[in-house]
Point group: C2
Chain length 350, copies 2
């Protein structure tokens, strides 16, 4: 089985994605292919020996073979104008944030019938847009923090009390996020968030609230879960900490939770996962407040796919691949146009 | 201004899309280009004189120039292996149902920075999946009919009473839809719906409920609305009726509603439209029950874009085009990788 790691993208997490791919190159035992999407959305086939961060920051990758995405896979052009295709069995979507988690890559891979591990269109939209995550969760009776949406001319809080945390609705990184402690700071923080998105989410900021991460996916024989980790964090996870977090190669430490609470967290995970996240290994971030499980975020393409939360990550990837959603082929028969043509023919004869 | 009509697609509404494009060829006064997506998702450039239904049903289109979608537009290959691009200013997405309304085409056009009229990713998902339409509307305090979702092993009604209407959640056509009047018929109807989708929506079936259609979009100076029409319908709108409906070239008749009710319908339309449907001309189908406005469906790419509901459709298209959403470019700076490289260099020196 040959897997192509797809990474990069026009995303604020472009560099994190490069780190993810370099990390998984060390972790995965499959035959690998490396497909890089640069900041201008050109695709390149990267030789294994060039899989170093500086190969990308120096733009050396531009000397690599340029690829084109079309029906059935990625191709490169030959001297004779012919397309030659790059062979692999599955794509592993490692593009974080925009492009990879907002549905663009999912839409293209589905359109071109390419088999891939990663979120499909619906899962992408429901996790990438933090406002839609809320309504989706509420409809499943999954608890979320209270929230308020800023859009258009709205400049004041109507429901929440300070302090709040303000986030651009669709960014998938901590850029543009502010903690706002009073009305005076709100204007500035809103302007900052609006620079990145015209929809902004406000939530109560709860000092020191504990977060728990659980990753998992659906295999043929049911749900598979990682250990639950309580990540150590500052107020906001900055870029450097994220980098260190994703690229670590040792395993994580399991959080000390009661059996009952682990069961509860897994039940919430299941509700969120099926059916819209099938085909992806996702990580959900939860808060626990008075033994209640509150959904914070869904990461449908977590950094390095949260390999450090699993004992045998190669097994999990193979297991997930054996249960990818199947796109139902719609056959176009021209039944209707043909029947009209026939009717017209008869009318002419009659 | 040159507009390319994009039509066809791997969709149950493939033929309806061809009818849409042929109809708009007659209605639109712009310079036009015709791009056909066949049932296997190959793109072709169709000469204006070949824009007849039988050109597609006979597969004659396969002799036309094949196109490839990539950064900035559609291209064809020349004899010398070079790409030559097809020139146009905007795409008008006329692919109905799957591909055109489910986010695949939106994702690809956004990825490749092609300007287009049509629903973006979020609007596509929120309208194409009838279950997600419900939770989206509820979160905006927009009334919807009661509903129940079938998925996995669920085979019995829990909340609703018969008669019900059963619909595959993601199809965008009346295929797989049944009216179920009792428990005995439920199993068969469920199996029929599951043939098309693993998520099925049940709603109460209300005999003779009146439907009202309103189309509209956001222009620079605010919302623009069509007249409200009360379409004549049988129990379900079949393919032939849809065909006649979309291809009609005369205007529609305005429904006889009180000023107050028109205002109410428009207010609901606004709530649904912004921000997720910006860039599209959509049609919403409403029920009116005891002066209450109930959302039935959102059509983000209505047949022939509901031109018959507008007086001057050419003006509306130009007006909409002047207010298309702008994709914010994310610049990839390699700031982080460069800063690590620098730090490493210093460590070596130190």
């Amino acid at each position: 089985m040959k897997i192509a790691l797809l990474f990069g993208g026009e995303s604020y997490e472009h560099e994190i994605s490069i780190v993810s791919a370099i990390t998984l190159k060390k972790v995965l035992n499959f035959e690998l292919e490396f497909i890089f999407c640069d900041g201008d959305r050109n695709f390149y086939q990267i030789p294994e020996k060039s899989m170093k961060a500086t190969h990308f920051s120096s733009k050396e990758y531009e000397k690599n073979r340029k690829l084109y995405l079309t029906n059935g896979g990625f191709f490169h052009k030959t001297l004779f104008g012919k397309f030659d295709d790059i062979k692999f069995d599955y794509i592993l979507n490692l593009i974080h944030g925009a492009d990879g988690e907002d549905g663009k890559i999912a839409g293209m891979l589905d359109f071109y019938n390419i088999k891939y591990v990663g979120p499909r269109l619906e899962g992408s939209i429901l996790s990438f847009n933090k406002v839609l995550t809320k309504s989706f969760a509420k409809d499943l009776s999954v608890k979320v923090l209270e929230y308020e949406v800023f859009h258009g001319n709205k400049r004041d809080l109507e429901k929440l009390n300070f302090p709040i945390i303000l986030k651009p609705a669709r960014l998938g990184s901590s850029i543009g996020v502010s903690i706002v402690r009073g009305k005076k700071e709100l204007d500035f923080a809103l302007d900052k968030a609006y620079e990145f998105d015209n929809v902004v989410l406000a939530e109560p900021f709860i000092e020191g609230i504990k977060e728990y991460n659980l990753a998992g996916y659906r295999a043929k024989d049911g749900m598979r879960y990682s250990i639950i980790e309580a990540p150590l964090k500052g107020e906001l996870l900055d870029f450097e900490k994220k980098y260190l977090d994703f690229s670590r190669s040792e395993g994580a430490i399991e959080a000390n939770l009661s059996k009952d609470l682990v069961k509860k967290i897994r039940e919430v995970f299941d509700k969120i996962y099926s059916p819209y996240f099938e085909g992806a290994l996702i990580r959900c971030d939860f808060f626990i407040h008075e033994d209640e499980v509150i959904l914070n975020e869904i990461n449908p393409n977590p950094g390095s796919l949260a390999h450090y939360l699993f004992k045998d990550f190669n097994f999990e990837i193979e297991n997930l691949i054996s249960n990818l959603p199947i796109n139902r082929k719609i056959s176009v028969s021209y039944e209707y146009i043909n029947s009209i043509k026939k009717a017209k023919g008869k009318a002419r004869q009659g």
